[in-house]
């Protein structure tokens, strides 16, 4: 089967993630959409390494690194969301414009 199947599926998921980040107002929903985009990237990395390298290890290692960074990102992101909720009683990202010029 051609590699473009995987690439098209991954770009579809990435587009869903972009839509979610742009259109969602709830901060936790934005974090979920970011996870969707990171997953699309991971599918690309694993697909390219499975199709184009002899041993297929490099892309998998990069996918593992992306997963680790995603775990760190979601931990910090949720801590920030919880702090915002404690101080402002809302998780709406449109209300978080105090530092916007």
């Amino acid at each position: 089967m051609p590699i473009s199947y995987f690439l098209v599926l991954s770009s579809l998921l990435f587009a869903f993630g972009v839509y979610g980040v742009l259109a969602r107002a709830n901060a936790v929903m934005v974090l979920l959409s970011i996870e969707l985009m990171l997953n699309a990237v991971n599918i690309n990395l694993v697909a390219f390494s499975a199709f184009f390298t002899a041993d297929g290890v490099g892309g998998q290692v990069f996918a593992l690194f992306v997963i680790a960074v995603a775990a760190a990102e979601v931990g910090i992101g949720l801590a920030i969301v919880i702090l915002l909720f404690r101080n402002r009683q809302t998780v709406d990202v449109d209300d978080m414009s105090y530092m916007k010029w």
Binding site: V8, A50, A63, L64
Partner: protein
């Protein structure tokens, strides 16, 4: 024949992932969105198994489905945000849909045309073992591995410092309501 079965399985997984993915960004319930994300992530794990990447598939299940989504659900519980039905979209929905559709069109067009002429096949017939990945991580990619370790430690400490309640200025604890 094996090719046909591969394509059938891929189509089923892709359909499930696409439907769950579109529900993640359109559903009105945050908990439902997190659970639809679980379906998408499990589909990605199935794709990794199809691509002979078993270790990444199980790491995906353990870390993403087991840890990240559970963390998300805990975050929802702790914020006591309105998690029921509600309008969680802002007023950029139309332009966001346009941007996402344009992005999908451009990237998928580029990718399909870049690999249209060449009929690339799987470079391997057997899976990559955890042994191969471990050897590669601890030899070739040992510096990024250590950097990721420090990053995770920093994220752990940072998350605790950001989210803890009794960390006032100059050691004066804030009133715990």
């Amino acid at each position: 024949m094996a090719e046909t079965w591969q394509e059938i399985v891929f189509s089923i997984i892709a359909l499930v992932m696409a439907l769950a993915g579109v529900r993640v960004v359109t559903t009105r319930n945050v908990v439902h969105a997190a659970l639809y994300l679980v379906a998408t992530l499990m589909g990605a794990a199935a794709l990794y198994i199809m691509l002979f990447a078993e270790f990444v598939a199980w790491v995906q299940v353990l870390v993403y489905v087991g840890a990240i989504v559970v963390l998300m659900l805990f975050g929802l519980m702790l914020t006591r945000a309105p998690i029921g039905t509600g309008d969680f979209d802002n007023d950029q929905r139309l332009i966001a849909a346009l941007v996402a559709a344009a992005l999908f069109g451009v990237t998928s067009w580029i990718m399909v045309h870049a690999f249209a002429g060449q009929n690339v096949e799987f470079a391997r017939e057997v899976g990559t073992t955890s042994r191969d990945i471990g050897r590669e991580v601890f030899t070739k990619y040992v510096l990024p591995f250590e950097v990721v370790s420090v990053l995770l430690l920093a994220a752990l400490v940072g998350a605790i410092v950001i989210a803890r309640r009794d960390l006032g200025i100059q050691g004066t604890p804030e009133e715990t309501s």
